[in-house]
Symmetry: D2
Subunit: 441 residues, 4 copies
């Protein structure tokens, strides 16, 4: 699986190869899950595995086959309705919290649907001339990245489903060998007038609409922690009353702490004085060297306040990430889904650089997607135009990627977002601070 798709040089063969690769990866991720596992929706934010498998298929059927296949007819009229998600322009959608009551089509039926669309997509791609292909390439590419987003969500969602089962089922794999994190260091940046937004030269030729347009922002001097906050550090926060001190919390966050009884990260449970963590590879004692994950934006912000620091802004994060990218780091391999660790890893030894930047945990920023869209942003035309713009409200932006992110789906300009109270995604904390020492010299 590669990150370098250049639509300018598209030939049917490589496009087909990429199609098969992306589609097969979804099925590979679903393979350990029984028909029953694939049916459950454990809360409104979670979708059943078989729904993910069908919905990404519906995307290709709707946005590619429907307009380009001669004599197009949908595989099944009702699927049109069932597997639409948020694209209101297409028609009334099946209410999201009810996805878990739809037992049919079953997991096997969804496989049949996938196979049918795959055959037709292959036929279509093979039949197009270069011109036609160039015209469709952006939508095909969008389909790949859309499916990759759902690959990540499929894993985050099934992690939640399995977490509620007293039998503590395992998705796959086993606990990683212990590592170490080393002390937290800082990398300093001068700021100034910087460029933010998707840059094809370093980010690859694909971006979502909300990464555009590239534009200028002014940054004061700042510094970033060189690794993520660890479980060990989080335990200190807890022991210091972190979840019981209102002065550390945003008002809405404090409301959630009390209403929902937050006292530790989402998947932590205490048994006889020992903290355990639910992971996709099983339930195990909390390892202090691993990055803390499954904390909400509210928790991340409270931690930063407790630590006398703050969260980075989007622009600070992206500017720093670009500088990292400019330098070749031999042996650097981010912890994305292809490591099959299914969980963040320890940061390892300091190296004067930003560690864990891509992969491990999505990193909360202090930037709200409400602030976005970027200056000059205009949504696309029609249903696909709704892709990101309409969610730009009351969500916080995260950067980087996580251990469940498919390879080829992480880049410096990527803007993921979740509501500030979301805890089921794989989210962690990188601290930031003003670089005032430098500015006062």
């Amino acid at each position: 699986m590669t990150d370098t798709l250049d639509p300018a040089s598209l030939d049917p063969a490589s496009l087909l190869g990429r199609y098969d690769e992306v589609r097969a990866y979804t099925e590979r991720l679903a393979a350990p899950l029984s028909p029953e596992d694939q049916t459950v929706q454990s809360m409104p934010d979670v979708s059943p595995t078989k729904w993910h498998r069908a919905h990404v298929t519906w995307f290709f059927e709707t946005f590619l086959l429907a307009g380009n296949e001669p004599d197009f007819a949908p595989f099944q009229d009702q699927y049109w309705f069932l597997f639409n998600s948020y694209y209101e322009a297409i028609g009334p959608r099946h209410a999201r919290p009810m996805r878990g009551v739809i037992s049919r089509p079953g997991a096997h039926d969804v496989g049949v649907y996938r196979g049918n669309v795959d055959d037709r997509m292959r036929d279509l791609l093979s039949s197009l001339d270069e011109n036609a292909l160039a015209k469709l390439a952006p939508t095909i590419n969008l389909g790949f990245h859309h499916e990759q987003q759902h690959q990540e969500l499929l894993l985050m969602d099934i992690k939640h489903v399995l977490s509620l089962n007293p039998l503590q089922p395992v998705y796959a794999g086993r606990a990683a060998t212990p590592g170490h994190a080393g002390p937290m260091g800082w990398v300093e940046y001068d700021g100034g007038l910087v460029e933010i937004g998707h840059a094809p030269s370093s980010d690859g030729d694909f971006s979502f609409d909300n990464e555009l347009p590239r534009h200028q922002q002014w940054l004061g001097p700042y510094r970033l922690a060189d690794r993520l906050v660890t479980n060990g550090e989080w335990l200190e926060f807890m022991e210091d009353g972190g979840y019981r001190r209102p002065e550390l919390w945003l008002s809405d966050g404090w409301g959630r702490v009390n209403a929902e009884g937050w006292a530790a990260p989402f998947y932590w449970t205490e048994r006889e004085g020992v903290w355990f963590e639910h992971t996709l590879t099983g339930t195990r004692p909390v390892d202090p060297s691993l990055p803390v994950c499954h904390v909400s934006h509210y928790e991340a912000d409270a931690y930063a306040t407790w630590a006398g620091k703050r969260l980075p802004t989007e622009a600070e994060w992206e500017h720093a990430a670009r500088l990292e990218e400019d330098t070749t780091t031999p042996g650097y391999a981010p912890n994305l889904a292809d490591t099959e660790t299914w969980h963040p890893r320890a940061a390892g030894a300091p190296n004067g650089r930003l560690r864990q930047l891509f992969g491990d945990c999505w990193e909360w920023t202090s930037s709200s997607s409400s602030y976005l869209p970027y200056p000059g942003f205009h949504p696309g035309v029609g249903a696909i135009g709704e892709y990101n713009g309409k969610f730009m409200s009351s969500q916080m932006v995260l950067r980087g990627g996580c251990a469940l992110t498919p390879p080829g789906h992480a880049r410096a300009s990527y803007r993921n977002f979740f509501p500030p109270g979301a805890r089921w995604p794989v989210t962690g904390v990188r601290l930031a601070d003003d670089g005032w020492n430098r500015c006062c010299e």
Copy 2:
């Protein structure tokens, strides 16, 4: 499947035969359902099919094997917790609305659990002497009737699950051939001092605790409709503004009408001016000759008010049902689950008797289970003692049985109950009236 189990004459062979019969019937009812179908909990009141299959198994394991099997160990410790329902005395239960998030054990695993308990139950029953058997017989018998209750619920529940699927899946069978209902007639009763409660001579030797003790009640003269209210009559009620006239409704009922937008029975939907009804055999146009079903107590009461009548009391219903039983009716075959119609049937021609008394639809009475328990009722000791007593609050009593009731599970003294707003059970309406004409002669 028979109704006549006499614990006094229990021999291991007939008990084993009965055990196999009851247990096999559950599996037969679940057979048309896929693993995905068996996983879904479509609302808090509904339980997944595979939960029903496991819970009735847990009953035998807990209340029979645990105390009597040498070297007893549960099949799986966690099942102990997962498949308990309301028996608080046994231990903390898995929250009811979360049954649908438990993907594992899967449908097949539940089958393995059932097989294991069946083998052990057979061993146990074969190994007991007559004395020991006589001591356990009431609990074994309770296990049979408990499983039959869940057989009925399994069908009511899956009907709700399938109803929410836009694909309109069918459970089994096909629509019945049309029938006719004939005009509604009345059967009159003198009342007086009557005996109410379980009577072994006519009800069989088994009863639930809430059918006891048999006691006296005083009834004024009354009369009962000789058949259930039909869909055709219900349409008249609707056309006369039945769902829009507050004066017809109990205050709580009118609140529900408005809050939930009730405008027709639960499973009815209108398309282009035609009413359709979701059934286990598919969605089909409403047949005016069939009994109306899936109406709440509130709707039943409003209908009766509209018709200038009232609902029967429990005692009125039971007294009348006993008189019916005293007369042999050749060819009378109630429409219970063994007809495999899976839906109420038309009443057919009047015969001067109460038609549709057992089977077709459970019949709402004006009696609240809060009024119960019967004078002198004392709950049993221990967990089984919680069987019915603790639900005796804010529920209304229904009598008779329905098209999803297993044969051998209907009797004159049977007291089913549901909350007055429940609409997913198979419930219908038999009208009653005071017999004032007679009393004034």
Copy 3:
């Protein structure tokens, strides 16, 4: 204030006297309350004092002036809408939970409204001839009793309003001098075929619709406690884990215990190991000799289960109360509102009779108003016909009266009702038991 209004002998003068008496009593009860006090609605079940004062006025304006006053015009069109309560037939009502947002008309304006209607009512009553008066007498009488119901509610409601104020304001009066309760004794009854329902000879000539018709019921032998359960006995229940033992509770009740954290009667709070009780005369330490009050039906039922007893049925209570009435008890003075104690009193010394029967606390029965209406009940015609019938769902019947009940408003046939979870009314517990000792002689 007297109880003996005989419509057959109505003359305008006595009717006017009675009118002035009832109306003045409402104002007397409201007198200690500031405009701010009279405005607050502390929960949906509670109505503001000034709403009560206006609503009972609206009743006379609507049901008497509107049809009988020449050239009738409402005092204020909007009051028509604002001060209707549940009489849906009159028109859309102002949503009940929003009564507390209506600051205008203010307390003084409501006084003006009352004065206006009083003047017009006096004119009307003075102008009618005997015939016309006889025709209106039942509605006038209903107006008196309706206002008395609201007098009691006004007190119960303001008790709740003041309870939420950290300043712990006092309505009036001061704590009663301590009393004693004596041990609980029992009074036995044979049962048999008894008559239940309103009996003019002993209950006075007025009754609400739900006390009719008088009819026969069969009672087995039973016995009743000769006084109410005391705070001291309730503390024993609490100390024995009464609020923590699910086996004592109805399922719905146990749900409320957990959802709402019930651990003591409604108005009790613990400070440094001492229990205090909010009353209309102030907050004071719980007196073990006083009757427990402000317990829900669920709590009453759990207590009875814990005590190895049960609650009385309505018929048992009424039958016993009639027998009490037949005997003249010199010096017996029930603790109703005219004692101005504003709280239940201690039972005092045993006397072989049922003490605290009328007054002190309304007594929960095991009878649901769903069971009602009485055999042969038919609601009246028009809006007044909705008086009681439509509330006959999911409510439990209480008998007797309480310390906030206006004198002349308690009688053996009176059927008060509240939902089983209601705790803000003044409700207590009288135990009952089967009379098996007698039946086995």
Copy 4:
């Protein structure tokens, strides 16, 4: 009432004058309201008038008297608790949604409390030497601005209270004489590196913490509408299906539209085809020349999308407002509370400048307070440190002021904020657009 308090040159006399001025203005605003009006809390976001009057008094008592008055004792211990708002560090607060159940202290009692604190504050201010005064001046000044915020809220809140009363009460005044708005024009800005944040030279010496520190931001070229969107333009949006077209809405906003049935601005109602608007001066037909107000951020954003424009960012708004301030406009008088119009006015004739910039309606920006705090922001120490920082989550920033804003309380750097769904504040819409035409010349 003036805007120019310079703490450096504070003398006791001018400080006392200012104190009396601010305090008297609160009482003047409350004067038309009855004790009942002052008691009501019509929804959780709204506070009763008498609570506002007491809470601002509590502020002076807590943050000034408590630390500086010799032998300080609170006026009333319980007021300490009752009239705290969000300052969690001070102690447990009385739950916000319960403010409306506190009938005592009444409106008059609150006046007594105010008088007591005023006397003590005057004594304190008179007794301090210059040094001590200079030290307290910032907190005293904060107390003035805090009280002004509550003056505005008091009016917004009572507007909501009165809106729910079917009698349609009037707060004060009468409808303004009709005006005209003229066509919408645009003012263009070059952007570039600009300074944002409180500037004492033009904003006055006071600012809230969230207006600091002043810092640099980079702006692309942009333009702003020269007046607010009018009711007439909003009616076009409605007629074009604005509330029924999901593609115009943020996803959360569309959810609210459907869940709460939004179809027009908050205080609009339709009667027989004519739209009416509830105002503090009465209910009157919607005037198309007036600015639309009481629209949420979601509605403002949807309108901008419909119009092919967008909302301004905070920095764009502030940069433009500063340029306006630099130019003296003879005769410019913003429509703040001192006009006693109590409602936005028409924009009048175009003049090449930004009209309605301060006053009339608070203007939604596209900036979330989550994006804030400003770079380098650090909350103050102790309870006052919580002033703004902790609300910086899921809120949108508004700029300018409104017709209910006290004079002296509007400035270019002021950052008001409300949740994106809030509709009861006086909020309107100024459109913005990218200045791409200029940049491409």
